[in-house]
Amino acid sequence: MNSVKSNQTNGRDEAEDDEVVGENMDILQPQQKESERRQIRQRYRDFIEDMQKTQHDLINPESDAINERLREVDELYKPVRTAREAALDSCALAMIANYGRQKAQALHTEFVKFQPVEFAEKLVNLFGSSGAGDMGNIPFEGWVQMGENIRPYFNRSPAFHFMAGSFEKEVQKRRPTPKEPKDKSSKDEKDTVPTQLRSFEEQQKNEATTAEVERVLAQLQKYYEESEKNPICFFEFILNPHSFGQTIENLFYSSFLIRDGYAKIFIDEDGLPVIEPVEKPEEETAHEKQKHHQTVVTLTPQEWKELLKVYEIKTPMIPTRTVEPN
């Protein structure tokens, strides 16, 4: 409030200065500093906001606040030169007028004054249920009863009904037909593209694994031939001195060979595991029927290093695979 008041005195001073120049000049010279105009607008906005806050005081018939407000806005108008500020002024004036109307409505001169809340309470007494828990409430029966009572007060035309009922309005279904194909086609497109891609990737992966398994089998068969069909030491076969990872991969690929019956692992006279390819499919199936073990093999980097030392492996039997950029 204080700031508003000080602003007002400023405004008055400016107005007085302007008056020295001459009233005609004021009107003819709308040029006004932007900062000054902004200040005026700010004052108007503060004024309007303040009025909104104190609305109920303003419309109270007992108070004179609204006249005071009218005088204040008159003061505010003095430095106004351009339309934009004047628009705010009319906005404020319109508000005052509106409050004035409400104030006039709130003014009751009659002896018996109508109190809406009192009326509501009387209605609740008349039509509300007598139950103590139902305070301030009119139940359905109460409303029906009230309706029955006020029926004579309304010249309402009676509802027209067919004796045997009327046709129900058919609900028109228009939407689904044109929309569905659109949705479907868009869905299809969305669905097919990613699945194709995914399967493609998977295929490649599968193919990569299968190819590796085949390569490992080829190596195994090669060494088997070279060693004149003697079983090959399993560790010598899979160990890669340059890479622990590739060693594990070799272990992984050879496990496929065992699973699919292309090779077998057994313990030789020295108690060490050896591997040899299975030559004939018939033999392989018979063999598979005989014993089918599952073994979990662990190989830690430490064990890998130890094995390399023990077997003195310098070059891998399965050549190091070039790492694919992926």
Binding site: C91, A94, M95, N98, Q102, Q105, H108, T109, E110, F111, V112, F114, P116, V117, F119, A120, E121, K122, L123, V124, L126, F127, G128, G136, N137, I138, P139, F140, W143, V144, Q145, M146, G147, E148, N149, I150, R151, P152, Y153, F154, N155, R156, S157, P158, A159, F160, H161, S166
Partner: protein
């Protein structure tokens, strides 16, 4: 009398009639409607009139004012030029010949529409017109709101209305066991049916509204009847409400005081 109104105002609707020739337009529209009637077989005229009577009765079920536009589209179709005459004869049929209903033209500048009002004065003894329970409860609420608005000086702010209704267990912010969405019922249904008028206050933010009597209310009931209801509730004499009593005397004194 409303029957004369459609004929006079029909002229404004017709694009062919020159707006400036006000004195001339009446006869012109008359002849236009008459010409349209002349182009129809008497049996056809009769059929269209009966169709219109039936259409009005059926559309009245919803209590929403019946638009002239819809009447022309659904009933008269290619004979819409004959609207004033057919509407007049249909109104006559509803009023005198059959059921004692009065066709009232709504005072709406946007588009012409009509409501049906019972011409026969109702008494509490007349038991042959029944309302459904839903009708009763809704009309009860209408009566309460009309009473509040009238007693409050023919207008009531929405905030005060909600505040008062809340005292009766009708809260516009909650589902009501009888009325459901109270705000929608009052501000949309009652307003659309013409029982209430809901006017947005200028420069109000958040929007505030003033409620007034709608046109249907002015036709279906009177200030005197509403004051009688209030007096029953208060067990008082109407004259004790000085300003409201003056208001109703004034409205009854002038021929179109209800408006």
């Amino acid at each position: 009398m409303p029957k004369a109104k459609p004929r006079r105002q029909e002229a404004d609707d017709d694009a062919s009639s020159a707006a400036s020739q006000t004195s001339f337009s009446q006869t012109q529209s008359n002849t236009q409607a008459e010409r349209a009637m002349a182009g129809m077989e008497p049996a056809e005229q009769e059929r269209r009139t009966n169709d219109l009577v039936q259409y009005l009765l059926i559309m009245d079920q919803r209590k929403v004012p019946i638009k002239k536009l819809d009447i022309n589209k659904q009933v008269l179709k290619e004979h819409s030029k004959a609207f004033p005459i057919i509407m007049r004869s249909a109104s006559d049929k509803l009023s005198k010949v059959s059921v004692g209903l009065k066709v009232i033209e709504m005072q709406d500048n946007k588009q012409k529409s009509y409501i049906l009002v019972n011409e026969i004065e109702q008494t509490s003894e007349s038991q042959h017109l029944r309302w459904s329970d839903e009708e009763k409860s809704k009309m009860g609420l209408v009566m309460v709101i009309l009473s509040l608005v009238f007693m409050n000086g023919n207008t009531m702010k929405d905030s005060l209305l909600w505040h008062t209704l809340k005292k009766m267990g009708v809260d516009h912010e909650h589902q009501h066991e009888v009325f459901g969405d109270v705000k929608k019922l009052v501000m949309t249904e009652f307003v659309r049916q013409g029982y209430l008028e809901c006017i947005k206050q200028p420069n109000s933010d958040p929007p505030a509204f003033d409620f007034k009597w709608g046109q249907r209310s002015k036709q279906e009931t009177t200030k005197r009847k509403v004051l009688q209801f209030v007096c029953k509730v208060y067990e008082k004499e109407p004259q004790q409400w000085t300003s409201q009593w003056q208001d109703l005397l004034q409205s009854e004194g002038t021929p179109n005081g209800n408006a």
